[in-house]
Amino acid sequence: MSDAILSLRHVSASYGPVRALDDISIDVNEGEIVCLLGSNAAGKSTTLRTILGMTRANAGEIVFDGERIEGLTTPEIVSRGLTMVPENRRLFGKMSVKENLEIGANLRDDKAEIQEDIERVFSLFPRLKERIRQRAGTLSGGEQQMLAIGRALTARPKVLLLDEPSMGLAPILVEQVFETIQEINSQGTTIFVVEQNAHMALSIADRGYVLQTGSIVLEDTAANLLEHPKLSDAYLGEME
């Protein structure tokens, strides 16, 4: 009913008998950065996996760009303009940096434009250009995260999902990654980011949702969430 480009309406999902998501509703509007916060095992990754059809929703609907996508296969969903930077990056370690970027554009066949997008990734991450022939598995953690983001960008998504982009990175790199996310957003890509690092995520987000054991317990603008008294200790279990 809104002008959301991606919305989850009353979505539930489970792994066998274990319910992972319980009736969650999320809206992501075009051009926004929306973050989904929560502690370990709150269901954050499951939310992203369900959007992409890697885990099946057993109730509710997922609408992307005006059409329902919850019954489609992952490649079909990706072809509509949605993709993800997965948790732990999961690059193709035996392939070169270049091949990883090219495979991100696997569904496109406009060679010249793919090349342009790859150049754009290199302007975002000059470090990757230096390592273009290197196997992805031999990159450092930070470089791998850059490549994982680059690989998602060459798919030219309308909405980019990111699963814990800060995980396992040194604080200085985390900041850099989030700055890049902001920049990608300013170039016109809608962002939906899942994070444990709430303060970092909220500092760049427009709005946020807080997930606790499979249910949305809070939703507000990023500014309000940052001031929310219970945010860190009650919902995220952080000691700050």
């Binding site: 992409l52 890697m54 490649p75 997965p86 035996k94």
Partner: protein, 364 residues
């Protein structure tokens, strides 16, 4: 903090290790020493008798290279499927048999009306096409009917299914084509010898070696350069992320089986160039030897499969004569399978990853 502190612990652990491991270690050491001794002693004894001339060794070597080329092509089928599904397709030998045995009937028809020797190149091309098409068909059918429903099952299940499928196919083709050994019609232009770089070899051997090399090279380019090849590598590394890249995983797996089948079909025709006969059980030994070659080279690696095939072929052709003649073993060439499967056992004991394979622990 202080340097001498860890000494007693280290000593006791060293003693413990000495007491715990030896049996296995000692057996392995004795095994390898006796194998090395046997090989060296046998070889020197053989060379001292002078039964074989340098030319004999050359021709044995070429013979090994030729049969090794066939093993290599079949081995690629094992290695491709393993690389993407982590299963051993033990029915791959039957995929090989199905193609060349079907092409036999085409060859007989061509020989009957004289086409085979009036248009030999065209005939060979048609035989190749028929053999490859049938092998591809069987390989794809196998994937679709026998393996795909078991995609999520524990690894042992598709393995046992593969063995069952192997027998199913053998006896199905026995039903179709009968139980006899059948002689492939001879193609006249392939008879005779060439001298290449001063080495005499059968024309068929030269053709088999060159053709296998060419096909291997084509495959290498295909996997390295094409989109389908890239998809195959991606699915092998991480199936879920491959589908996140928009890759159709099922179609990629079918393509993998089809390519393995095509190479097996081509290998079948090369095989009859060398051995001239077909029978419904003909896939079994070459299949298992090619599997050995794939393991030897490092299963999952295409270059490894080619290397393993050639090494196995050469060892098989040269080995029995070289190692066993001097030890006065009667008719050593009958012991070729001993060499092949001896190698399989040794590789599994001493070098489970093969020459070029990724170490197994990553995937287990």
């Amino acid at each position: 903090m202080s340097a001498p502190a860890p000494a007693p612990a280290e000593q006791s652990s060293r003693r413990l290790r000495f007491e715990r491991i030896p049996m296995r270690r000692i057996i392995l050491i004795v095994l390898s020493v006796s194998i090395i001794y046997g090989v060296v002693a046998g070889s020197t004894a053989t060379l001292r008798t002078g039964v074989f001339t340098a030319e004999d060794w050359q021709s044995l070597f070429i013979n090994g290279l030729a049969r090794g080329s066939v093993y290599a092509l079949i081995a690629i089928g094992y290695t491709l499927v393993y690389g993407i599904l982590f299963m051993i397709n033990f029915a791959h030998g039957e995929v090989f048999m199905a193609g060349v045995y079907t092409a036999y009937f085409v060859a007989v028809a061509f020989a009957g009306n004289g086409f085979l020797n009036s248009n030999p190149l065209l005939s060979i091309a048609i035989l190749l096409l028929v053999s490859m098409a049938v092998s591809v068909f069987i390989a794809v059918l196998l994937e679709r009917l026998a393996y795909r429903p078991l995609r999520g099952a524990p690894r042992l299940v598709p393995l046992i299914t593969a063995i069952g499928a192997s027998f199913f196919l053998q006896y199905t083709f026995r039903g179709f084509y009968g139980a006899n050994v059948r002689a492939y019609p001879t193609i006249e232009i392939l008879q005779g010898k060439w001298t290449i770089f001063g080495i005499q070899m059968l024309k068929t051997q030269a053709i088999v070696i060159v053709a296998a090399l060419f096909l291997w090279f084509l495959l290498y380019l295909f996997v390295a350069r094409t989109k389908t090849g890239r998809s195959m590598r991606a699915v092998g590394e991480d199936r879920e992320i491959a589908s996140l890249m928009g890759i159709n995983v099922d179609r990629t797996i079918v393509a993998t089986f089809a390519i393995g089948g095509a190479l097996a079909g081509a290998a079948g025709i090369l095989y009859v160039f060398l051995f001239n006969q077909v029978i419904f059980t003909m896939g079994f030994l070459p299949g298992i030897k090619a599997f050995t070659a794939a393991v030897l080279g490092g299963i999952g690696s295409i270059t490894g499969a080619a290397m393993g095939g050639l090494i196995l072929g050469i060892l098989e052709a040269v080995g029995p004569n070289l190692f066993l003649t001097g030890a006065e073993v009667p008719s050593p060439n009958q012991l070729q399978p001993v060499i092949a499967f001896g190698i399989l056992v040794l590789v599994l004991i001493f070098l489970p990853g093969g020459f070029l394979g990724a170490s197994e622990e990553k995937r287990a």
